[in-house]
Symmetry: C2
Subunit: 214 residues, 2 copies
C-alpha cells in the first residue's frame, strides 16, 4: 500500500474491486443511503445524486435497486464469513479462537458499521432468491461459531448448558454492534472488540473469564 493513501474513510477501499468507477460510486452511495434511511425509504434519485449522476445512470450499472442491495449484501456477508472462517481455522485453544473470532468480527461490524447495518438489517428487502442465497452464507457463519463453542465445551474449557442457544445469543450480540455503533461515540472499534471478546468468554463460562474485571 502506498504511504500517501491514508484513507480517512474506511468505506473508500471497501469496494475497491468494483469497476468501473461509476459502479463503485453507486455502491458507496447506496450503502450510505440505505444505512441512514433504510432501503425502502431510499430513492434511486437519492443514490444517483450522491454518486454525482443522473437517476438514469444507475440503470446502466444495475438492473434494479434491489440488485444494488444484493451486491452490497453479498460482498458484506462474504467478508463477515471470511472473518469467521479465518478465526475458526486459526490455531490455539477454543478459548483463543473464540476470543479472536469475536474480537475481529465485532471490530469489523464497528469499523464498517455503515455496511454492516445494511447487510444485517435490510435483509428482508431482498428478493426471495437473493434472500435465500444470503441466508446460506449466514448459516455458514453461525455453524462455524457454534463449532468453536462446541469445541470449547468438549475440551472442558467452556461450560455451556445450551450450545445452540448460547451461540445464537453471542452472534446476536456481536451483530447488533452495527446498530448502535457510531464513529463519534466514546469507543473505538478496537475497544469494542476487546470488550466484547471478554464478555463472550464470560458468557461461555471460559475458565479464566472475567479476570480483567476482578
Amino acid at each position: 500500500m502506498g504511504a500517501e493513501a491514508e484513507r480517512a474513510v474506511p468505506e473508500a477501499e471497501e469496494w475497491a474491486d468494483i469497476a468501473p468507477d461509476a459502479a463503485r460510486r453507486l455502491v458507496g452511495a447506496a450503502v450510505q443511503a440505505f444505512a441512514e434511511r433504510g432501503y425502502h425509504a431510499t430513492t434511486t434519485r437519492d443514490i444517483a445524486g450522491r454518486a454525482g449522476m443522473s437517476p438514469a445512470a444507475l440503470y446502466i450499472h444495475y438492473k434494479t435497486k434491489e440488485e444494488l442491495l444484493y451486491r452490497i449484501s453479498g460482498i458484506g456477508h462474504e467478508k463477515a464469513l471470511r472473518i469467521m472462517e479465518d478465526a475458526a481455522a486459526a490455531g490455539g485453544t477454543a478459548t483463543e479462537r473464540l476470543s479472536g473470532a469475536v474480537r475481529t468480527f465485532v471490530r469489523w461490524h464497528a469499523e464498517h458499521h455503515t455496511t454492516a447495518r445494511v447487510i444485517q438489517y435490510e435483509l428482508q428487502a431482498l428478493g426471495e432468491e437473493h434472500y435465500a442465497e444470503i441466508t446460506a452464507l449466514r448459516r455458514r457463519t453461525d455453524r462455524l461459531l457454534r463449532q468453536i463453542v462446541q469445541d470449547g465445551v468438549d475440551a472442558g474449557e467452556f461450560h455451556v448448558a445450551d450450545v445452540p442457544g448460547t451461540t445464537l445469543a453471542v452472534l446476536s450480540l456481536c451483530v447488533d454492534v452495527a446498530r448502535w455503533f457510531s464513529a463519534d461515540g466514546a469507543r473505538t472499534p478496537d475497544e469494542v472488540g476487546a470488550l466484547y471478546a471478554d464478555l463472550v468468554l464470560r458468557m461461555v463460562g471460559a475458565e479464566w473469564a472475567g479476570t480483567s474485571g476482578r
Copy 2:
C-alpha cells in the same frame, strides 16, 4: 380473568385499552404489517385492508401513517420501561434484581416479538419530535439497568471493568431477541428469558454465575 377467554393470540389483548374498536384493529394491523415488511414498505392500503376497512377509514382515526407508528412505539416503550422500573424497584440483591429484569424484559420481547420488532427497529421512521420523545423513554430504561449493574459492582456482587459499555451490550443483547425470536422456534419466551438471565449474570461476573452450565 374469565376462564373462557384463553387468548390464543397475545396481541389480542395488547391493545385492549385502545378505543373505538376500529382504531384498535388498525393498530393491530399496522403492527403486524410493520413487523413483517417494515414501516416504509407497508402501505396504508395494506393496513386498512388487514383491518377490514377501506384505505380512507384509516384517516378517521389517525392523522398520518407516522402517527400510527408513533402510538405503537409509545405504548411499547412505556411497557418496556415499566418492566425495567418494576425490576429495579424490586427487593433483593443486585444479582436478583438483574436476573429478574433480564428475564422479564427478554420474555416480553419474545412474547410480543411482533410489537417489539416494530418499536426497536422502525424507530428511524418516526418524525423528529416523536423520535426525540421516544428516545427519552429509551434512555430512562438504559439508566435503570445501568444503575442495577452499578449497584452490583458497588456491593461486590459483580465484577465489571466498563459499566456503561457492559450495560449497553446487555441491553443490545436483550432487545435483539425481538429480531430473531419466532413463535414456532424451538424455545418458549420463558426459556429464552431464563437462558438470557443466566448469560447476563455471567457477563457481569456475578459471583455464582455459570453454576447451571458447570
